[in-house]
Subunit: 338 residues, 4 copies
């Protein structure tokens, strides 16, 4: 529900309105813009009918928000949100490429890769210290040691770091080592974790679950915004379908669909979205062409010996070519890229 | 890897073998049975080739475990595991029906439903105090208050209680109020949570994720067993497909497939598996017919006013008919039911 | 649209009504039953609003048919249709098992299999002379020679024969050699073929397409009934999903769903529905338990050398056990089986 | 199997080889290129081991073709095939846009649309006279009358015409009115129809079935090439998944995957691939960016009154904007477009 206030609304009247809303058990968010003020009311949908403000002298109009997601919707926030990750804006005029290995394996692996991707134009570093794996016997990541390597390399090269958090108990520790947290596809439905990162005031990349509808993704983002953190970047990374030629089916329909419905930036991960190295570059170009704000891509100095996701990782010269091929497409769309 | 010991193996030799395994960083589990002893070796797959015991004088034979899941496989444990939930055996000769509302809503709702389902033959009580919901604005469950209601009603009526845990931080609290924990479909891939319940020594119902392959489900169970908790009950509850006539597509192929591969008991949730009240009873009969060990089913005293899942909940007379229809099928298969 | 006539409706009035309907370009079907008569109006949905009979003196009531499928719906035909295939009723009290090899390979293969399945209780024979294959280089069936073998063996053993037709040009030829035609999953959307078999007056088994929703299946059946052939048997044979442990995902939810909506008989093919021999018998039992009217199952005298579908075919002793296991379940449901 | 001949091979020796192959029941296709000659052997895979030519004096080398599809594979034909449709090349340097309404509805509708799309840069005309519809009561197309309108408009405006054929019985009639036939998604598995168009020597657009894997699409194309018609254009048009926000999930991964494996041109249909007008232009740009050779797009002079697919059709000004947005992307990739 959005309550549009009259221009001449008084502070006392606004206070009265806010008190009415919170007394019902709902949350009121005040938004000022373009000379007018509005109040967004969120909370348990069953309580909304109890809001009784139609006749209030300071209320101009009351509108329902038609989508089940409220704060992520363009209905409540029409212009593009730009999320700044360690000084790098995601979602604006510049197209962002964030690169790095699937897993942090060692300081030298991390540093070599970071140096190379930075030289080729990447603006951020991605790598996992906590790895969600199907098997308990597969490499689970270096944990805290991995986080420390990431922080050190990112800091040395002045590259913001994005890394995954998998457990509410680890949120503070991961947040202390990175400029942006990632919620992985397997945790997109983990509402406890969504609420926990919603308590932070730092950027979060939220990956689409492998069987999540785009509406599910928007609702998962809503969990984070409803807790007060609006620095959310959505990420399409492929869905699970019957097709076995590729690891996942990259659903690029989702990019323009999301951009039309939400003000949040949207990036694409063509590495997981294809699972096949030779498809990564063409799909990154396609992602840019249909409106993505950036790319997360896996790069490893030696994919053959990678501890995870080697088959879908670009090597260092491959990443250079990736950037060279991507540039002309991005610029043809009127956006900038190094 | 399974190491079969010679009948005449000495305690010193066995100790030597165990030391060798743990020195590599792997875990050794000793299994005695039928006069012979074997040692199951699990852990990081990359380390297995370092085990060097072929020539050891106490070793009869070494076999690889072909499946990626080890402890849940019939290769390492050939006979059926029976998990006892508050005195009720799941997985043996008796077919178990566990019933209750989707969410705990109040003490009277819980008690009325529990009385009715017990009278009709249910052997356990299921209900959620923590509810995973797509929208942050939907009813999220009563939390601790819900757990207390559940514990009180279960205790009064001598019915074991199964309820969902969604967060590692809540595991101890939920465990203190229930006889069996449930990991929901949205958390099947949440390895932190799987490891946390693996630390317990109490039954866990593990629901298949909505886009999880049956092998993913077996590997998720392996996470729990690898931590030392082997009281796991698998639950098929429908997968996400293109079909929209039903909420999910109940994949009953999975039942005989799982029963052939794992020793763990397998139950079916036809409520989520269909999402349609009129399909619940026929699909429960089908589940029994293809080998399920029991049913989890949603029952509400007044589905029209249920705070969640009303459309798929049986009412109390509906549950009575459910039991009357299910009985003859179960007995035709040579199993018992009240 | 269903037009219910008054009990005292006159022949002249009825004729007037029928003329009105056909003059618009719609089709009128008269149904008499229980002392009352009704007229079902089908055809181009855009023309229905032109029917102007509300004030007609012989009209009691006019009702819209809510489902997009009309003649297959229980709204226009509430009781179960029994389709008789060469004397064998499908859809009534008796549960029907129809068995045979995937492909006709030779007279002796066909005859040996037919003798064995008949002895074990099968009431019909199934086999393909025209085989839809993914690759043009795979065995495409024996064609006319296969049809002749089928007809001869069926006739000798007094077993009705069901076989697939793949091309409108072959409909008459196939119809001349069989008691029932089959439209395969790959042709369920082939409306030319559906219309062609709709012109016949003989039974048709219509298999669900591998990505067809149940509503698509009902609409495909409607194509046949709209041409005047109401002897249609629906067949669930598995849908294509992300699961790779089985060839298809047998969607048994569809069985009670279909039985509630259509009067047509519904059978299940657990061979294609699983693709795995060891799953065929349990899934046939499940199909019976949730309300199927019969089973189509692949049986081969020597599955190892079968020219197609060997991995999912039962051998002859396997089929005997299949019947022995299926019987008690069918009888527990109050139905009969040899 | 590919048999590479020695440079000095004699006509008699080659004849001997061809006779050996055909005597086994296989087909031999001779390919000359780059001063060397090879013979491709296709047919029943079971017969291939009978080819006994290793010691033949004119044979240089014999290689298996590893993919199940042979003639469509780059293994047997490494360079890009350009299919010429009524003078318009598809698959080369120029990016082709083929536009038109879903269905032919009238001469004026067809002519108005054709004039507008030609003016905006479309090089071909697409529309359906035979429409595959889920319901028998939906508009089925104008049939022969529609074909005549198409032929007349195409001829007047010098635009090649692409239209669907649904029945083997109609192949000659449709071929007589169009420059290119289309096999629709619902008929991709209809091997009778594939064989029938394989007998022609004219271009065919083959659309991917809604549940077809890319390998299935390649095998369906192989059916056509195996009959002797190599003028095949593949078309990705979306697959059926759990996502309901869009009509289908456009699988653009398939574009680079196909281009790497087959020499045939690949086009994309973003109208069916999304089902949503506002997504058509961004997805066309994405298709171009990942390597498609052209676009098939639905355009209607007044989508609100379209007899089919109105929701996904561009209107005439919308198509102009489509071309204006697509051009820069295509040119950034080094290809040409009007």
């Amino acid at each position: 529900m959005i309550i549009f206030l009259k221009p001449q609304a008084t502070p006392e009247g606004v206070q009265e309105i806010l008190t009415h809303i919170t007394s019902i058990g709902l949350t009121a968010l005040t938004r000022a813009g373009n000379g007018s003020t509005s109040i967004i009311v969120i909370g348990d949908e069953g309580l909304l009918p109890s809001v009784d403000l139609k006749g209030h002298s300071d209320v101009e109009e009351i509108k329902a928000i038609r989508t089940p997601y409220k704060l992520v919707s363009r209905e409540t926030h029409s212009h593009d949100t730009v999320v700044t990750v360690g000084g790098v804006p995601i979602g604006g005029q510049r197209f962002a490429v964030i690169a790095g290995p699937c897993s942090v394996e060692s300081h030298s692996q991390m540093r070599n890769t970071a140096l190379a991707v930075k030289a080729a134009g990447a603006v951020g570093l991605r790598a996992g210290a906590f790895k969600p794996r199907s098997s308990p016997y597969a490499f689970q990541g270096l944990g805290l040691k991995g986080l420390e390597i990431l922080r050190d390399v990112g800091s040395e090269l002045a590259m913001p770091v994005i890394t995954e958090v998998m457990d509410t108990a680890d949120v503070d520790m991961v947040a202390a080592h990175a400029q942006c947290l990632q919620i992985g596809a397997r945790n997109m439905h983990n509402s406890s974790l969504l609420k926990a990162v919603g308590q932070l005031r730092m950027p979060v990349v939220l990956k689409r679950g492998m069987s999540a509808k785009v509406e599910d993704l928007l609702l998962a983002a809503e969990y984070i915004l409803a807790e007060g953190n609006d620095q959310v970047i959505l990420c399409e990374r492929g869905i699970r379908t019957f097709e076995t030629a590729t690891r996942n089916t990259l659903d690029l329909n989702a990019i323009p669909y999301l951009k039309q419905r939400t003000h949040l930036p949207v990036v694409v991960d063509p590495s997981h979205g294809t699972g096949v190295r030779s498809l990564v570059t063409p799909m990154a170009k396609a992602a840019a062409a249909c409106g993505a704000d950036g790319i997360l891509v896996e790069v490893h100095e030696n994919p053959k010996v990678a501890l995870s996701d080697g088959a879908q990782s670009l090597d260092l010269p491959g990443f250079q070519r990736f950037m060279q091929e991507l540039g002309p497409v991005v610029r043809a769309l009127g956006r900038e890229m190094p």
